[in-house]
Symmetry: C2
């Protein structure tokens, strides 16, 4: 039995969850894993604040040095959230030779190279299972279970807020704005929802996942990003007619030595395992050349699911003598600047002879071939009608070029959504 | 960089898969993990046999001692299948202080205590991720990611053959016998399909999973087992009408200190994540008090998926200095002898006034209350009609007792299928 002395950076909902879990399950963990933990100091912003766990005030401090400079603390758990000062504190902890366990995707993804470098230089451990998809052990799966694979793609629903919004839009035909307002009332979306709905949160997580999957650094800035705020009930409904379900996907693929990493709304076939991942659940679908297709599903957020992953990392950190850092090349990944997929294209077109021929002709000139087309609803009073096309697999750039050349006197309100079939 | 010298016991499809994967990915594994492997001897039944990998004949031997007694071999990989001689060979390897990596659920589940004891006594490692659900890292998830949880249930589709058969029966309305014959032609079912269709294979796997999840030994003999050979297209079809999908489930739960471990056909709601696990795919659904609901999905069999898990265990075994065995009490688990669930009861009843009252009265006397009833189809020429009941959550024993007392002049051909809703 060994006892590890640990410090907390932050003590919000997740920190309180970790505190409670360690109290409640401490005996089980000691019996099964041979590890006990003593929480020595907890950095908080305000000692007097009421919290979700009964924590002795003597443990709390408002001075980060009480955690970062205490030589007795060997593992620092960080759940302050946000980029700074979390990243600087983690760096200081690593530089002092302390092992860091974090749930902070933003600080980790944004300062990946510095943090890994500091951990390596000071032989400290850096554990971050909780930073991506809460309780789902996707980091372990990639690092510790799929090592013999060439991973070819990682496709995930890795933001619960947007999945909740799209699930309700799909079920109820409701508008984006209405469901967002509801989600905000229920505490499922932040008052400023930008980080979630514009895909930033998913981009941080995808940067981490794709870096690990392809063993080359994929900086957050290299992740293509598009949110869900432009999605209309009509898009969702037209997709349904083609047997497609709309999700905010985070997609990373390696094709011919180039990495694609992109977060955007995408349709998946209704019978794809990701299609049935609803509401606040997360799931990551991984393909490897030996393992084939796999999916990892669970609660991607929440105090206790995140605490479950943090404590699991804490136990692993405590047991590990020589911490292993992920095998990632120093050079960043070569990023793809174009990719091929099926495109769903919806447009408002003048309902007159020859329009379809003009549209399909423009697509054809750019090498984009049409797989199917449906007219949605009746011609409106202005003589316009909704047309929805599904292309065959086509280069994104060619589709954009074709749409850029469409005759705008004939078509307007063009909306493009990618379709992921594999 | 360290080099491990390894030996194989067996070299069928899975062994050849491991051989190919180590050749093909050896460089990546060396670069990323710092481990290289030298295959020193391979035990085969017949050296001359043609195999799925180009293996130098000099490596092969028909004498198990060449692997088991070679002091240079530190890790033995076993993929002979079957109980004996695999179990005895693994025991001998462990007793010689060699670490064992195995894909053999039957030998492992049947000889669990001996193998664990030998590993503990001789400080050897025992790794078996590949023994349950091929590439899916469910053993790692339970042992290394969910340690801070009280796991409350593990529910899986852990046999690909039966899932293929039930998926096709569901999609096509085909009979069990027809689909089985097809599966046999396609090599998806064995010429003697008993181990799969009667649930033995799933029972071995469930014994392992539940032992790990609840930290108490659940012997194979304590797993309740019922196969799918009695399932008719009518059952599948009647379930559909209630929004239910039929699966062969392996279920382990801990309720009030007693463990239920059971393999049997069961209906799940159509929108349950397990309902959409089709064909030869496997999935395990886990609930823990902190992590919430999780699901792990993937290819549960096949050479390369199984090889993926075996090589992952091999890497883990090579890197581990002090092998950890699962924390399982010496005493076997206290098993539940009854459990409560919703029951689907289909029967052929005389179509005459008062029958429903007799049936529901008999149920009521045993405390079984009916949630819904539908009559399926028209009255036949003998004056009988199919009645399908869904009970409220009821004790299995009470349902059996009630059915035992049904007036057999009024009802016949009674078929009961459990419904799992959580």
């Amino acid at each position: 039995m060994s006892t590890m002395t640990i410090g907390f950076l932050g003590c919000g909902n997740i920190g309180c969850g970790v505190y409670r879990l360690l109290k409640e399950q401490g005996e089980q963990i000691a019996r099964n894993e041979g590890e006990t933990f003593e929480i020595r100091r907890i950095l908080v912003r305000s000692k007097g604040k009421k919290r979700g766990a009964e924590i002795p005030e003597a443990l709390m401090t408002e001075n980060p040095d009480d955690v970062l400079l205490d030589p007795q603390i060997s593992i620092v758990m960080e759940f302050m959230g946000g980029e700074e000062p979390a990243a600087s504190y983690m760096l200081r902890a690593l530089e002092a030779g302390k092992t860091v366990v974090t749930a902070n995707k933003m600080a980790l993804a944004t300062h990946w190279q510095e943090l890994i470098h500091a951990a390596r230089t000071h032989a400290a451990g850096l554990y971050y299972e909780a930073s991506v998809c809460g309780a789902i052990p996707i980091i372990r799966a990639i690092n510790d279970s799929l090592q013999a694979n060439r991973i070819t793609s990682v496709t995930g629903i890795i933001n619960g807020t947007t999945n909740y919004i799209l699930s309700r839009m799909t079920r109820e035909g409701a508008s984006y704005a209405d469901v967002l307002a509801d989600a905000q009332r229920l505490g499922l979306a932040e008052p400023d929802p930008t980080a979630d709905v514009e895909g930033y949160d998913a981009a941080y997580k995808l940067s981490i996942l794709s870096t690990l999957a392809f063993h080359r650094h994929v900086p957050v800035g290299s992740v293509y990003r598009e949110g869900i705020s432009g999605i209309t009930p009509l898009d969702v409904q037209c997709g349904k007619a083609f047997g497609l379900t709309l999700k905010l996907l985070a997609i990373a693929k390696e094709v011919d030595g180039c990495v694609q990493a992109r977060v955007h709304p995408a349709f998946v076939p209704d019978d794809h395992p990701l299609a049935s991942v609803s509401d606040a659940f997360n799931a990551v679908y991984v393909s490897g050349h030996a393992c084939g297709e796999m999916m990892f599903y669970g609660r991607g957020a929440g105090d206790m699911p995140t605490a479950s992953a943090l404590v699991s990392d804490l136990i692993k950190a405590a047991k590990t003598k020589n911490h292993q850092l992920p095998a990632v090349d120093e050079l960043p990944a070569k990023m793809a600047d174009d990719w091929a997929c099926v495109h769903f294209v919806r447009m408002l077109a003048r309902d007159e002879p020859g329009v379809l021929s003009v549209v399909s002709g423009t697509f054809a000139r750019h090498g984009v071939s049409i797989a199917s087309m449906v007219q949605k609803g009746e011609t409106d009073s202005d003589g316009h009608v909704q047309l929805v096309f599904l292309t065959h697999r086509a280069s994104e750039r060619c589709v954009r070029q074709a749409l850029g050349e469409m005759d705008r006197t004939l078509v307007s309100q063009v909306n493009v959504i990618r379709v992921e079939r594999d």
